[in-house]
């Protein structure tokens, strides 16, 4: 059947819904076929075969029905499809409206093939083969229906910039999501997006404030600096990596010393990213959100973004921050960098105090940005091997106060389809839209899923948080966490889903022990290409 347009189909529903019935019992198959046909659905039936069935489940079955199936139940399944359609419609709008917003709908590279218009897939997942039938609605050509599942708004640098501008315009006290939304004037952006982003921003701000009070030296990062450079970088990072990250949050340094980062809101959940946490100095607080990928099917590997930018980080001046190289400071109480990195394969090379693993599948860029005063080591980690290099990299000598580290804290951004399992320090993506947020703190509220089904992610989130802290130690050796006391702020660091950043920032102490989470599945792409990324001193990548 010709693929009608997304929208067109919406009108035709529920009739015309395409249903795939899978069952190993031919009798049931026949019965269900008949039942569905009576509902005016289009039916295709397949004899259950485990692999096919599992694929269906993987793709995110929306519903399951227990046998014996009643007509009434069948008649209701259209609701799933409808809901999905509406959701996707929205996603599409957002997608097209924001160029630099990466909407990660599909975690995989087949994004292009994805037919956004098609494919509302509503799959009933069967609990047991024998007991339940699988029904898959939607365009069967859709390769990976689960990819459609979540669309997240990516808080790109630009977008964030707009946001911040709006906020500043209104005045932080009087600000409200609606006002911001209006001011920003970004089509496709919802009030909820803004609201949660605002919440994170506020949290971030307050943390930074707090940090700046404690900080001794005043590495001030001129916010503009950050803005300018970071924007570029951010974009870079975001655009590159994020295929799967849907949102980047940039942190904007507003206060004199603070770079405020905003951790992306829930959307981040999508992507697992390493949130580069840069602990620069207390002043710098920056966290960049890791863009949350919306649907990361293939979970982006978490890439630790450490940009040791060769000395020339655009934002270099920031480096001035007399921050002790965080990397070194795990112990000394000086600002420490917290890396949360998900190793792709669990290779973690301890870089002095931190180790981090790069995700395996994809290149992750790890770039450490060291302050300009010290030779910036620019490292792009493309795979584990690189990581090793990184580790080899001598952390900037302690006297390099300015070293900034961009630590990528693996913020667990799980795309909808990815679920992080910190347990093994690996992130496994599951196409179920789980959102995991890894962060050093038990604070999981970052993971708000506005547009996604949060249910799955919540458990994950909670699973993660504790891990980040307490369990880090118990994590397999692969994971190492460097905890960084303070984070540098990256202005426009684009990270995906650094939800944790906030948390990271807020719980510096607890993170001393933190290991990095490295999720193999996280796509490191998300992190900016260090190369292009003019060094943002501190970048938090998520």
């Amino acid at each position: 059947m010709e693929r009608p347009l997304f929208y067109a189909r919406a009108e035709a529903f529920p009739a015309g819904l395409r249903v795939l019935v899978v069952d190993d019992d031919p009798t049931w198959l026949k019965i269900l076929e008949k039942m569905l046909r009576k509902c005016s659905y289009e039916v295709m039936s397949i004899d259950g075969e485990t692999s096919r069935v599992m694929k269906g489940v993987q793709h995110g079955a929306c519903d399951y029905l227990l046998k014996p199936v009643r007509m009434k139940e069948l008649k209701n399944i259209w609701q799933h499809v409808y809901r999905k359609k509406m959701h996707e419609l929205k996603e599409i709008q957002t997608h097209y409206n924001n160029e630099d917003i990466n909407i990660l709908r599909y975690g995989s590279e087949d994004l292009d093939d994805r037919n956004l218009t098609d494919g509302i897939t509503n799959i009933s997942s069967a609990r047991k083969r024998k007991d339940v039938d699988y029904k898959e609605f939607g365009d069967q050509e859709f390769g990976d229906p689960s990819r459609l599942k979540k669309a997240r708004v990516v808080w790109s640098v630009d977008l964030h910039q707009k946001f911040v501008n709006a906020v500043n315009q209104i005045g932080l006290d009087k600000v409200g999501p609606k006002k911001i939304l209006d001011l920003m004037n970004v089509p496709g952006l919802t009030r909820e997006n803004v609201a949660s982003h605002l919440q994170k921003y506020r949290l971030y701000l307050s943390r930074l404030q707090k940090q700046s009070e404690d900080s001794t030296s005043g590495g001030n990062m001129p916010s503009d600096l950050i803005n300018n450079d970071n924007v570029a970088n951010f974009e870079l990072a975001s655009s590159t990596n994020m295929q799967q990250c849907s949102e980047h949050t940039k942190f904007v340094g507003t206060s004199e010393n603070l770079i405020q980062g905003i951790i992306d809101d829930a959307h981040i959940g999508d992507i697992k990213k390493i949130v580069p946490v840069q602990v620069i100095e207390s002043e710098k607080g920056l966290i960049s959100d890791i863009p949350s990928s919306q649907n990361v099917n293939s979970v982006p590997q978490l890439s630790a973004l450490f940009s040791f930018k060769g000395m020339t980080p655009g934002v270099e001046e920031k480096a001035r921050e007399p921050t002790t190289p965080k990397h070194q400071t795990l112990h000394d109480g000086a600002p420490r960098m917290q890396f949360m990195h998900y190793p792709g394969q669990g290779n973690c090379t301890m870089l002095d105090d931190y180790s981090y693993l790069s995700s395996s599948d994809q290149d992750h860029q790890v770039s450490f940005n060291l302050s300009s005063s010290s030779p910036v080591i620019s490292t792009t980690v493309t795979n584990e091997k690189d990581m090793k290099d990184l580790s080899e990299m001598k952390p900037v000598p302690t006297d390099q106060r300015n070293a900034h580290f961009a630590v990528v804290a693996p913020v667990a951004c799980m795309t909808g389809s990815v679920s992080l399992q910190i347990k093994h320090g690996m992130v496994h993506s599951q196409d179920d839209g789980a959102i995991c947020k890894l962060d050093g703190s038990p604070n999981t509220k970052g993971c708000s899923t506005e547009q996604i089904d949060n249910q799955e992610c919540l458990p994950l989130t909670s699973e993660f948080s504790p891990k980040s802290e307490a369990e880090l130690d118990s994590l397999p050796g692969d994971l190492h966490l460097c905890s960084i006391q303070k984070f540098g702020c990256f202005e426009d660091v684009g990270f995906g889903g650094a939800e944790n950043l906030q948390d990271i920032i807020s719980t510096p102490d607890t993170q001393v022990q933190n290991d990095w989470y490295i999720s193999s599945e996280l796509s490191s792409d998300y992190l900016y290409e260090t190369v292009d990324y003019p060094l943002i001193d501190e970048c938090l990548f998520a």
Binding site: D25, W28, K30, M71
Partner: protein, 155 residues
């Protein structure tokens, strides 16, 4: 006259099937699905069922013979059979399957094997009985004619 007696017969047969617990609610569902587009839907389904389930029964028998102690696989097979039976509403058969599975669950208790065998025998018997009865039923149905399509009146 003939017809009405046939109808009566049909009704009685159906009633007894339900009363005796051979069939349940699901059968009615099947009947409701029958329409002009598929006028013999119920019969087709039932035929399909018996074809498939005979195969299953044979498999189970074989399995019992070969590995009578392999309760796990036996259980799985019987579960499949039960599920199949549920498609047409073969209530008694389902119950018998359940009993069998319970024995399987308990496993290696003394006399388990015998009990399993016996209970499977029951399943088999019910299977044939039902088949026979339904064959009669459909035969009658055909004689009575489509107008007299079985409905809930039989209950």
């Amino acid at each position: 006259m003939d017809r009405s007696s046939l109808q009566r017969q049909l009704a009685n047969l159906k009633k007894s099937l339900f009363d005796q617990g051979n069939l349940d609610e699901q059968f009615y569902q099947l009947e409701e699905l029958q329409d002009d587009a598929s006028p013999n839907f119920v019969e087709e389904v039932v035929t399909l069922f018996f074809r498939d389930s005979s195969r299953l029964v044979a498999n189970i028998e074989q399995a019992i013979e070969k590995c009578p102690r392999d309760y796990v696989s036996l259980d799985a097979l019987v579960h499949q059979l039960k599920d199949s039976a549920s498609s047409i509403g073969a209530a008694k058969m389902m119950k018998d399957c359940t009993v069998f599975r319970e024995y399987c669950d308990k496993r290696n208790f003394e006399g388990c094997q015998t009990l399993c065998l016996r209970s499977f025998q029951k399943v088999k018997n019910e299977h044939s009985t039902l088949r026979q009865k339904l064959e009669n039923y459909f035969q009658l149905l055909r004689q009575v004619g489509p107008a007299e399509k079985a409905t809930r009146s039989g209950k």
